[in-house]
């Protein structure tokens, strides 16, 4: 049986890390609290540069979803409900989730590898002996840019997914485009859309924390950095899926 002690030990480090990061948030309001250039760099890396792949994947996701729905709906002659199915699935799940997966692959692994390499080169030690908190200096700009990039990407992803559904509706099901659009406007509401976007902010926090944490824990050698990147990706996918399930339950309490 696993003793209480082991359980406490396993969770001690991550909790301490989260505490450290949370503790440095007041730095944001200091004079040179946040380095603007770093912040913009990560905003570019996680945001702008991820946009094409987000659009492509979400569009294809909408397409596939629409196609599968069409096959089933056709049997009972309720083709128009493809619109509902695609719309809600994309806004509630696939938009935020696909964006989170892409961000994990692009940003989460990059964060871990970057911090791990800094550890190999003693840059982390150098920061510490300069009296600068690595958590403040390295995590904050990443966290903040992810918190901005992911919701924005989710908006684009949602749109691309719905366009994917529309493509299927118009080509496979021969629905008029106007009918598809008006049905979309009719069934989808802004709260559903906003809840999805808020969810992506939770994912942003989880991905950044997992990536940075794995980087800081990396052993100081080349293979260690590789393992850190791997575990960053695996653990943030895991965390995102768990969080998604929990949020789905929470949202159901408020009726969405």
């Amino acid at each position: 049986m696993i003793g209480m002690r082991e359980v406490v030990e396993t969770f001690r480090e991550p909790v301490v890390f989260i505490g450290r990061v949370a503790g440095v948030f007041p730095h944001l309001f200091h004079r040179r609290g946040l380095r603007r250039r770093e912040f913009l760099y990560y905003l570019d890396l996680c945001g702008a540069r991820s946009l094409p792949i987000v659009l492509a994947i979400c569009y294809l996701m909408g397409l596939v979803l629409g196609f599968q729905a069409a096959l089933q709906m056709r049997k009972v002659g309720t083709e128009i409900f493809v619109v509902d199915l695609v719309g809600f699935s994309v806004l509630k799940e696939f938009g935020p989730l696909m964006v989170a997966m892409i961000a994990t692959g692009r940003a989460g692994s990059a964060f871990a590898a970057e911090i791990g390499t800094m550890k190999v080169d003693e840059e982390i030690s150098a920061l510490e002996t300069m009296g600068i908190s690595p958590a403040a200096y390295l995590v904050l700009p990443k966290m903040l840019s992810m918190l901005i990039a992911l919701p924005v990407l989710t908006v684009f992803g949602d749109f691309a997914g719905i366009v994917g559904g529309l493509t299927v509706g118009v080509t496979v099901l021969d629905l008029p485009m106007a009918a598809y659009c008006s049905r979309t406007m009719e069934v989808l509401d802004s709260v559903t859309f906003l809840l999805g976007v808020v969810k992506s902010m939770v994912f942003a926090v989880l991905i950044t924390l997992a990536g940075c944490y794995c980087g800081f824990r990396s052993s100081a050698d080349a293979q260690g950095v590789g393992r850190a990147a791997t575990s960053a990706v695996v653990s943030s996918i895991f965390l995102v899926v768990i969080a998604d399930a929990v949020i789905a339950i929470l949202y159901s309490f408020i009726g969405y």
């Binding site: 800094m118 003693e122 840059e123 030690s125 150098a126 510490e128 002996t129 300069m130 009296g131 600068i132």
Partner: protein, 273 residues
């Protein structure tokens, strides 16, 4: 062994035990002082824990037992904020320079100034230029660390460590991976830091040339006994240490070299016969 002087030590290490995990002890119960204005070398064979000792002194690792005081304040017992405050009073130059790869040379040197002073941009730029000139890298502010050679990176690391004019400087293997000339230049630079700025310098090294050039005092760490094998003036120790291993180390294992030469000449004599 320790000569008494009136001045209080800059660093005082007391009954320090360091190691990894809870079992593997690297150094047991060691004590020494570093006096103001001296160049102090920590020496020893590979794997004896000299770099680890340095990392304890600068507060990166927590010791298993004992205490380390810097300027009379314990870095072991300090809480996080006190530690950060204490760390601003010394500069550390790492083996590879440890420059931040995402910033230019100028930004690297400017970082501590931006963090801890109220200087304007122009003032910071002036200090950065001055520090880079000091280490012979004037005008290279806009270079990225990756564009520099190993020696230049180390010197840039020194410029960054000097940015806040610390009274105490640490060097981790300054001559590792450098050619003899560059390494000798770095030694001269270390001497100049002390002579011009009155800085106390602690150097971890096993380069004998550099030890005999710069060191006022050395401690020799012994892997086997996990303690200090000798402490004092390097020239004195080379000639008169009671410990044969210390004499051999400082003579570059000279007796073994002589033995090899003798064996070799005996062998060639035998072959000629």
């Amino acid at each position: 062994m320790v000569q008494q002087s009136g001045k209080t030590p800059d660093i005082s290490v007391r009954n320090l035990t360091v190691g990894y995990g809870t079992e593997k002890v690297l150094l047991q119960d060691i004590s020494f002082d570093v006096r103001p204005g001296e160049i102090f070398c920590i020496m020893g064979g590979s794997g004896c824990g000299k770099s680890t000792l340095l990392k304890h002194i600068i507060g990166l690792y927590e010791p298993m037992a004992g205490d380390i005081e810097i300027f009379g304040r314990s870095i072991v017992r300090a809480d996080e904020e006190e530690k950060q405050e204490l760390m601003r009073h010394f500069g550390v130059t790492y083996q590879g320079g440890a420059l931040f790869g995402s910033m230019t040379l100028g930004e690297n040197v400017a970082l501590p100034l931006e963090e801890y002073t109220q200087m304007s941009r122009a003032e910071i730029a002036a200090v950065v230029a001055e520090k880079l000139k000091l280490v012979g890298l004037e005008g290279l502010e806009s270079y990225m660390p990756a564009e520099l050679s190993g020696g230049m990176r180390k010197r840039a690391g020194l410029a960054r460590a000097m940015a806040l004019n610390p009274r105490l400087l640490f060097f981790d293997e300054p001559s590792a991976g450098l050619d003899p000339i560059t390494s000798a230049e770095l030694d001269q630079l270390i001497l100049r830091m002390r002579d011009q700025y009155g800085a106390t310098v602690v150097v971890v090294t096993h380069e004998l040339d550099s030890v005999f050039t710069i060191a006022d005092r050395v401690v020799m760490l012994d892997k086997k006994s996990r303690s200090i094998a000798a402490e004092g003036d390097p020239f004195e120790l080379r000639e008169h240490s009671e410990n044969a291993w210390v004499r051999a180390f400082l003579n570059r294992g000279g007796f073994r070299g002589a033995e090899r030469r003798r064996e070799k000449s005996q062998r060639t004599e035998a072959e000629e016969k």
